[in-house]
């Protein structure tokens, strides 16, 4: 399964300038703490170009902290974050999206008071003027939010919000997309739809994804590589299909 995806990703990844399979995002020995609580304890992992890497773990495993540390919202105690070989550990949060990394935070990060269209426009602000065609493309991907274009974002359903924030992140033209529990609170059908779309963008456009999920079954079914996190440490890293097949591991850490 993983091999198939890898093969299609090669051609497309050329577009973003990084060959598929090379390490686009590397996290080395990352430790983050909230006061005395160590939420990440020497985490090392990498996300490869043109692949979906899933980080799995139970409540409190440190998944959100991992993404927040990568994008600079939480400053680590030690360790480094490299994006395409460049050290971004101390880079300002505002600069990340310009470097090609878009982070969709836990709880989705819709700006409730703005309209759907304004939310999308905020996502493209840092790029200067952006053609209407790019917005149309997002609306084509998500016809449901196209209908709600001029409504305040707080009137959207959970699934629509998820579509909005993914569409907004895509307008930043990221090389890597960090997603924090996109499946949370969504019906299985919508989850399948959103994950299917991610797969398609990765395969056809060379996008790379670091996907954080508690919903391990769905995440592994779409991912190429899985990283299991427990109490702030990496337990195992392997191909998604191998992790799927490891019954003991699934029972112990993934809850299915």
């Amino acid at each position: 399964m993983a091999e198939n995806h890898g093969a299609t990703a090669v051609s497309a990844a050329g577009k973003s300038g990084t060959a598929a399979g090379t390490r686009l995002l590397e996290v080395e020995n990352l430790t983050s703490a909230y006061g005395p609580v160590r939420a990440l304890d020497g985490v090392s992992l990498s996300a490869e170009a043109g692949r979906i890497t899933a980080v799995l773990g139970a409540n409190g495993a440190g998944k959100t902290t991992l993404l927040r540390t990568i994008s600079g919202l939480v400053r680590p105690v030690s360790g480094t974050v490299l994006l395409d070989g460049q050290d971004i550990t101390k880079a300002p949060v505002e600069s990340m999206v310009g470097k090609g990394m878009a982070h969709v935070p836990e709880g989705r990060g819709v700006i409730a008071e703005l309209t759907v269209d304004e939310n999308l426009r905020v996502g493209s602000l840092f790029r200067g003027k952006v053609g209407k065609g790019e917005f149309d493309r997002v609306y084509d991907l998500f016809p449901r939010i196209a209908e709600r274009k001029n409504n305040a974002a707080h009137t959207l359903s959970g699934g629509e919000r998820q579509m909005l924030v993914i569409g907004r992140a895509l307008l930043a033209q990221p090389r890597i997309l960090l997603l924090d529990e996109p499946s949370l609170g969504l019906a299985p059908r919508i989850v399948a739809q959103i994950f299917g779309l991610l797969r398609q963008l990765v395969d056809s456009e060379g996008l790379s994804v670091l996907l954080v999920e508690q919903n391990a079954r769905s995440a592994l079914s779409v991912a190429d590589v899985g990283v299991v996190l427990n109490l702030g440490r990496v337990v195992v890293t392997d191909s998604a299909s191998t992790l799927m097949g490891d019954e003991d591991l699934r029972h112990a850490y993934l809850g299915f």
Binding site: M96, A102, P105, I111, L114, E118, R121, F126
Partner: protein
């Protein structure tokens, strides 16, 4: 009838000024969740700058522009230098800092400009327009005040609605973290927001001063009414600030115009209106607490 129209026009004019002051408070509250108690003395400072220029021979209009620009600089500098370091800390800290600034700036005005009463000019007459041989109670100064506030508000609306920087400012105000993740330089937007709010606050100070006397504490009653207007409107809503200002301006004008010994009752009436509104709608008339989630 004539008297009623007269009282109404006075109320609307005053109300516009309260609206402007309230709007300055709301702009800062929305973007930084800080109640800026220093707004009044910041506005007083710029009015004294205008007065100094006028006394030195500058025209009213030059003085007005310079005062508004210095209002912007003052607001931006205060945010960057004084407010930024206490932001993100306990909420009370920033409020105490603005209270401290309120007193400090007022003292500074007294030191630099003196504490005597000085008359502040108005560019237009205060006699009603004449239609044939009847004088209507609308004066050129009324018109000027109302137009100045309306134009300023229209410019702000245009900025927030139709420009990219306005969108970035709104995004920063509603959700700093998300805006940051989307590449918006939130710090710069907050500085800009304080600067613009101070411009609107300064405008209210200059307008209320027109044709009267100024001294370091001349803004004190406007500060009270501006706060009441902002809270009536809901503190979170620019439209609320404007409506709150107009309601208060009209109500106070009717009280002082019709109630026996009315002018003595004005401040108390403001308090009664405030309590009345808060009893019926604790969040203010235009509060939108439900929209503020997720």
């Amino acid at each position: 009838m004539d008297y009623f129209v007269n009282v109404t026009i006075t109320g609307l004019t005053q109300g516009m000024i309260y609206s402007a002051f309230a709007l300055a408070l709301v702009l800062i509250w929305r973007s930084t969740r800080i109640v800026n108690f220093a707004q009044g003395s910041m506005a007083a400072a710029t009015t004294f700058i205008a007065l100094a220029l006028i006394q030195a021979g500058a025209s009213y209009w030059v003085a007005l522009i310079v005062a508004l620009v210095s209002g912007f600089v003052l607001g931006a500098v205060i945010e960057r230098v004084i407010i930024r370091p206490v932001e993100g800390g306990p909420e009370l800290n920033a409020v105490i800092v603005t209270l401290g600034l309120f007193v400090a700036i007022q003292a500074l005005i007294a030191i630099i400009f003196g504490s005597s009463f000085q008359s502040f000019p108005t560019p237009f007459g205060v006699r009603g327009f004449e239609l044939g041989d009847t004088t209507i109670p609308l004066t050129p100064t009324n018109l000027y005040v109302i137009a100045a506030v309306l134009v300023t508000m229209a410019l702000l609306v245009a900025l927030f609605r139709f420009t990219r920087i306005g969108l970035a400012m709104r995004a920063s105000a509603f959700s700093q973290e998300v805006a940051r993740l989307l590449g918006v330089k939130v710090g710069g937007m907050l500085t800009l927001g304080w600067g613009l709010a101070a411009v609107v606050g300064s405008l209210s100070g200059l307008l209320i001063a027109g044709g009267t006397f100024v001294y370091p504490a001349y803004m004190d009653s406007l500060i009270v009414f501006g706060f009441v207007a902002a809270i009536i409107g809901g503190l979170d809503s620019p439209v609320g600030a404007i409506v709150g200002g107009l309601i208060l301006g009209l109500a106070l004008s009717y009280v002082s115009g019709y109630a026996p010994r009315g002018s003595a009752l004005v401040t108390i009436s403001a308090l009664v209106i405030l309590i009345g509104v808060l009893l019926v709608r604790p969040g203010g008339l235009f509060s939108s607490s439900t929209a503020r989630r997720a």
